[in-house]
């Protein structure tokens, strides 16, 4: 008997996690739901709790190991029981969740392959064809030496697959013949006209060589940010519109209520005002609280507001205030404080960084006046709030122009032009401006 401890899947796109710390060691007693270890992913750090009570009989991985989701990482049972793989034997690394098992990790004992292919050498041409056609070589029966999968074997396998599933992804299987650069080698070309052959042809400029320097290794979060940013820019046509907002009334309200909020343990910043104004504007313009799909624009029922939080050199994370429209200013202020604080301490739970429908980024915190942020896919837009500063503005009262000093801010909306046009985007930002300028 006994119970396996499984590496959880911490988020939809997360496939692995790093064991940052074992909180229990072999022989320790654990109670139900008691934390056993801490797992770190590119998004969050979280604790994994015991699903049963008993004695920790075995830990299959060390601290620092990166383990695929679904893999057995520890074993809890009755004291004196022998865990799978023996008390001190080699770890049983077999992933237990179906579908996540990687062919390379399992020695081809399943599927219709003969099992020899996976362990044997894979020739360059087989590796290339497997990559081009997305084929798992371990599934192929090899006829070569020692059961090796030959080029003929993989081509026959692809042929069989495509004839049995003609409907599946033509595009995916479409094969791209790599273009081989002609290699200029005078000894093998036309021997005695080197001057025309070598110097006459236009050459394509090579990619500039990198200057020597130190290479900073990519962290998980840095790599994830890079992938998301590039994917977003490729996905939606980004357009940015910027409005200037007079914050006189907001500043007055904050000054009046700061102490009051502090009594409730809440540090009132300007961010909740922008969040509240955005919620109101989203309610008036539901098209902005949406996502593009090929079948249509999905209007979200819930308003889940993501707040971008800088982690300094470590990157950036976007915790989400779920059902933000159900909160008043105090609730929003508390939520913003709490999420930002826990984000910086890497204490966010996986579901707290998912499911956002719109995002706000407060780039003004670092002095920026206005910016063109990148949309957090698959959302429709992202609101950028600049630095609040006192500016000289012209005010008109009773037909008379005069100069006044007012706290002003630039508010920019970067939106998906597939969903919104300039006019609808401006209506949304106008709504935010009206809420902020008429704050009571």
């Amino acid at each position: 008997m006994g119970t396996q401890v499984i590496m959880p899947q911490l988020g939809e796109s997360v496939v692995e996690g790093k064991i940052s710390q074992w909180l229990k060691k072999v022989g320790d007693q654990v109670k139900l739901y008691e934390p056993i270890l801490e797992v770190e992913t590119d998004k969050v750090t979280t604790e994994v709790t015991a699903a049963t009570e008993g004695t920790v009989l075995k830990l299959y991985f060390k601290e620092g190991d990166v383990v695929k989701a679904g893999t057995q990482i520890a074993f809890i049972g009755a004291a004196g029981e022998t865990p799978p793989g023996g008390a001190s034997g080699t770890p049983a690394l077999e992933p237990v969740m179906a579908g996540i098992a990687q062919a390379s990790a399992v020695a081809g004992t399943t599927g219709n392959g003969n099992g020899k292919g996976a362990g044997a050498r894979i020739s360059p041409v087989v590796a290339r064809i497997a990559a081009e056609y997305h084929v798992d070589v371990s599934q192929i029966s090899g006829t070569g030496e020692g059961g090796r999968v030959t080029k003929k074997d993989i081509l026959a396998y692809i042929e069989k697959q495509s004839s049995s599933q003609p409907a599946q992804g033509e595009g995916q299987r479409a094969r791209v013949e790599p273009q081989l650069e002609p290699w200029e080698q005078p000894g093998l070309g036309e021997l005695f006209r080197p001057s025309e052959e070598v110097f006459g042809k236009p050459t394509t400029p090579a990619a500039p060589a990198l200057l020597p320097g130190e290479t900073v290794p990519l962290t998980g979060i840095r790599r994830a940010i890079a992938e998301h940013m590039v994917a977003s820019k490729r996905t939606s046509p980004h357009v940015t519109t910027v409005f200037e907002v007079d914050l006189t009334k907001v500043v007055a309200h904050r000054t009046a209520n700061k102490a009051l909020f502090e009594r409730d343990g809440v540090n009132l910043t300007f961010t909740p005002y922008f969040v509240a104004a955005t919620i109101a504007a989203l309610k008036q313009n539901p098209l902005v609280n949406s996502a593009w799909t090929d079948t249509g624009i999905v209007l979200h029922r819930a308003i889940n507001l993501g707040i971008a939080v800088s982690l300094g050199a470590d990157g950036l994370i976007v915790p989400v205030i779920k059902n933000a429209d159900s909160m008043n200013l105090l609730g929003l202020a508390r939520a913003v404080n709490d999420l930002a604080d826990r984000a910086r301490r890497k204490q966010l739970k996986p579901d707290e960084v998912q499911g956002g429908t719109f995002t706000i980024t407060n780039h003004g915190a670092s002095g920026s006046l206005f910016a063109t942020p990148i949309i957090n896919q698959p959302q429709c837009g992202i609101l950028g709030v600049g630095k609040i500063e006192k500016r000289v503005v012209v005010v008109t009262q009773a037909g008379v122009d005069s100069i006044a000093i007012k706290p002003m801010v630039y508010v920019g909306l970067t939106f998906d032009h597939r969903i919104l046009d300039g006019n609808s985007a401006d209506n949304f930002v106008t709504a935010i401006k009206q809420v902020l300028e008429n704050w009571v």
Binding site: P124, V125, R128, W183, F192
Partner: protein
């Protein structure tokens, strides 16, 4: 059209070129009244006389040097080296002079010269009459190296070599002189220097060969074909400049390569083919690139059992084909 031997085709090419162009002449040891040690020039002395068919002293250096001088001054010499083994005294003339004059004089002088040399073993010739020298000379930029594998190509390629404005080393498989026969058209035709020839289409593996080994590879491919192994055979024909496109295209098709050459294995011509395939055909490779070649010993032995041990032949080639096909 009639069936001719390799040496008859070579003689016919020289005969026709001598008749076609008065600048062409032949020089070498015993090429005159005797007609050459292999009878390649038989009858030509009677036909063209002592100013066109010139017996030389036993000095390969001077045969080639005379050829270079004549070629630079507007003639088209065909220099015969009696056995390829004897070419080494002329090495300096060929490498440092013939191959470089066009480059060195900025195109002012050309050396339109052909050096014919019978190469290869299997004829009981021992150390000094059996060598393969193609790798050494294919290494030299500025020198073309041609090895025909059949009478049709021999006649057409030799005519191209005589008409070429560059020095051409024309190597002839002496074992095949009277063994290899084939249809040869009467009259003038040429086979261009450069292109390789896919002489047998197949799908399982590609075999690269030239000269005598190509002849044996044909027999071996026929043999393993009966067992269901489909061999594509590439006759390289011109070793320098090499037809890389044909070489690579066949490899892309089969993914498996066997290079067969008679020269000793280490740094032989097959090493360059293997390197090109590994370099530019890596993504198509389905098996280790294999070479079947002579062993790395100082010469082809005189003793017949040892000569058989040295020489790649149809049986050894078929075994190598089977091994590669099964990989």
């Amino acid at each position: 059209m009639s069936e001719k031997t390799l040496i008859e085709a070579i003689r016919e090419a020289m005969d026709e070129e001598l008749a076609r162009n008065s600048e062409v002449f032949i020089t070498g040891e015993d090429v005159g009244p005797r007609g050459g040690v292999f009878r390649a020039t038989l009858g030509l002395f009677a036909k063209y006389g002592p100013t066109r068919i010139i017996d030389s002293p036993l000095a390969e250096l001077s045969i080639v040097a005379v050829g270079i001088g004549a070629a630079m001054n507007g003639l088209r010499p065909i220099c015969e080296i009696q056995f390829a083994d004897f070419i080494q005294p002329a090495y300096n003339q060929i490498v440092n002079e013939a191959a470089r004059i066009y480059y060195r004089t900025g195109g002012t002088f050309t050396v339109p010269m052909v050096i014919r040399a019978p190469y290869g073993g299997g004829i009981g010739g021992g150390l000094y009459h059996s060598q393969s020298i193609e790798a050494t000379y294919s290494h030299v930029p500025g020198l073309k190296v041609v090895i025909p594998s059949n009478p049709y190509d021999a006649k057409g390629l030799l005519k191209s070599a005589i008409r070429d404005n560059n020095p051409v080393l024309f190597l002839e498989a002496k074992k095949g002189y009277r063994l290899i026969k084939g249809e040869v058209p009467e009259g003038d035709y040429t086979v261009p220097i450069g292109p390789a020839n896919v002489t047998r289409e197949g799908t399982d593996l590609t075999v690269y060969a030239y000269g005598m080994m190509h002849f044996y590879c044909q027999q071996a491919a026929e043999e393993v074909g009966k067992e269901g192994i489909s061999v594509e055979l590439v006759d390289l024909r011109t070793l320098n400049p090499l037809d890389k496109d044909t070489v690579l295209n066949s490899f892309k098709k089969t993914g498996k390569a066997l290079i067969v050459y008679e020269d000793n294995r280490f740094l032989g011509y097959g090493a360059e083919i293997a390197a090109i395939l590994a370099d530019e055909g890596f993504n198509y490779m389905d098996a280790p690139i294999m070479r079947l070649a002579g062993p790395d010993v100082p010469g082809v032995p005189y003793s017949h059992p040892l000569q058989d041990w040295f020489m790649p032949g149809p049986k050894k080639i078929a075994d190598a084909m089977r091994k590669l096909a099964a990989y």
